[in-house]
Amino acid sequence: MVSGFPESEARLSWGRVHRARHRIARPSSPEAAMAALARRGELSVLPFGLGRSYGDSCLNPDGLLIATRGLDRLLAFDPARGILRAESGVSLADLLDTVVGRPAPDGGVWFLPVSPGTRFVTVGGAIANDVHGKNHERAGSFGRHVRAFGLLRSDGRILRCAPEENAELFAATIGGLGLTGLILEAELQLVSVPSLRLETEDIRFADLEGFYRLAAESKDWAYTVAWVDCLARGRALGRGVFSRARHLAGSRESVRPPGPPRLSIPLDPPYSPLNPLSLRLFNALLFHRLGPGGRRSAIRPYPAVFYPLDSIGAWNRLYGPRGFWQYQCVVPPDGAPRTIARLLETIAGSGEGSFLAVLKTMGDVPSPGLLSFPMAGTTLALDFPNRGAATLELLARLDRIVLEAGGRLYPAKDGRMPADVFRAGYPNWQRFADHVDPAFSSAFWRRVGNLDGRISPRRGTR
């Protein structure tokens, strides 16, 4: 029986390239989620949070999406230990509005242990993609701060998973892209920080060597990230701006949680304002805005440091009706400078510029998930306006460079990686496949995990 679930053909992922027909259930209680799962009939199922995954890992064409946004209650908060239990559809923005900033016993304030580039993701989504932030060197991925969660399986059981309880399923679900079941609630360990204001420095670097030098010099800075000018070639290859930040000690000033975006892109522009000319101007501007000294220090509240893009609502629409592709890889530390240089050369030579290219070193704190993306090395994130075959051809060339270097791609950003690229990057993928719930599936998983065609699009059975 299929009736009773409304249908949608909207573009449900952030890159806006993919469009598919879905049935959508929107439970507002765990009981309602169980009921929706129970009456799925022949449909395969996938949890859906805030749709910030860029490609097709959050899509399940012709199947059922269980939207978790209605599961957004905070269930318990221990202010002495910074432990929060919440339903899985709670967003990080909700947490910033509520428990973040409350006093911790050591004199600091509670803060998110790991924060991705947007606060508009759900806790369930942050676990399912094992997201990382600018403090990866120290804090590792989001999954490291998850103490436990309750996982609803399609057979109706709710399993408590923790590092010492259902440990394999715990590891499969962190970074498991929603395929192992529906996370109903989770328990997170917040971190105490001296204040919600940060000391920040932006420093220009002339080439990749400059980037790695700054990364090595920034051990005292909890948060680091760099923007690179991916149009620069030759001697300027890999030039950019390195940003680092750390919580300011002794600041008693409170920081207001960020409100809704002031500016929003209300509709789809028929043509993208992001074209080769604006791309060149924008990148030159970013590089030169620091002035002749090439360095700028400031004290800034956390929203400006962590979520600059959140201040423009629906910025993804700027890429126009064809959408855009994201590409994020990580390559191991050995030979990383050489690999990143090859990637940047390939991009600069292709004429397919990336508007915003982000470069960051990642630490060797192990990620807890079988399919976790973060690993020691350097990560490069890019976005390309969708120009069809030309863009895809470039991305395929980048795939080969990443694979040769022993790297991998981030599924949350992906909507096209071939199965061999996925399997080479994630050697645990078969162990993971054993934990996939038989009723759960996604477009991404049907592409990369399809074992001998045993996953049909209609039913996730293996």
Binding site: S3, P6, R26, S28, G70, R73, A76
Partner: protein
């Protein structure tokens, strides 16, 4: 605005929950009543973390006349006569299924008119005696003109609006305020379960922000989102012979 005591009847409704969250941030003390005790407990936990000074819950089915007295007693034990009461329960139901079913019509009129009207009567009595308080009741723009697609629900809400209007008239010389909240279609489980497309669907968060403002400003009637006031003005003005031919 300072903290206060708040009683919510139908506290598991999506709109009520969002209003309660906004009032929780100010450190209000809550009494929550609804049918489902499990969901009430989760909402109570949530409000407490968001800043509520205290939260008491009481599970009750407001369609049971015998449930009225105990729920009011529980309320007074928890928060006394509250500063703000929000009555937010109701069922939309599938009009096509209801229209020819006498028992279903009776149930809809009970839930959407009789029960809230009786509850409001008892609450108004207490507030009048206390000489203060604000009674906010969720009705609907559906009450403003009978339409084939929802006239059972709509007529109950129309009756409730008229009831509130009369009550406000009666209490005009007292300090008790009566707020009639008339939302357009809101994106909630109530509208979703019908599985059809709604025009101009508003989010419960937005509607809740409007309600909070209307409570603070002690307004009498709130259309939310605001444009429904003008849409309904036009719909009410359509002459009956023309209206009969329209599919609305």
């Amino acid at each position: 605005m300072s903290s206060r005591t708040v009683a919510v009847f139908g506290a598991t409704s999506a709109i009520a929950e969002q209003v309660a969250r906004r009032l929780a941030v100010r450190g209000s003390r809550f009494f929550l009543a609804a049918r489902d005790p499990t969901r009430l407990e989760r909402i109570a936990a949530d409000l407490a973390i968001r800043g509520a000074a205290s939260v008491h819950t009481h599970a009750a089915d407001f369609d049971e006349p015998a449930a009225l007295q105990p729920v009011l007693e529980a309320m007074e034990r928890a928060v006394g006569v509250p500063d703000v009461v929000l009555v937010a329960f109701g069922t939309l139901g599938d009009q096509a299924a209801i229209a020819r079913d006498v028992e279903a019509v009776r149930r809809s009129l009970t839930t959407n008119f009789t029960s809230p009207a009786c509850l409001v009567t008892a609450l108004a009595e207490k507030m009048e005696r206390a000489g203060r308080g604000l009674l906010a009741v969720v009705t609907s723009v559906a009450g403003e003109r009978g339409r084939a697609s929802n006239y059972v629900y709509g007529s109950a809400k129309a009756g409730l609006s008229t009831f509130l209007e009369g009550l406000r008239h009666r209490l005009a010389s007292s300090a008790v305020q009566v707020l009639d909240i008339r939302p357009g279609p809101v994106d909630t489980p109530m509208t979703r379960e019908l599985g059809r497309a709604w025009p101009l669907l508003a989010s419960p968060e937005r509607v809740a922000a409007d309600i909070e403002r209307a409570i603070d400003r002690r307004r009498a009637i709130l259309y939310t989102p605001w444009f429904w006031r003008w849409i309904m003005l036009v719909i009410r003005a359509i002459p009956e012979p023309v209206f009969r031919r329209l599919r609305l």
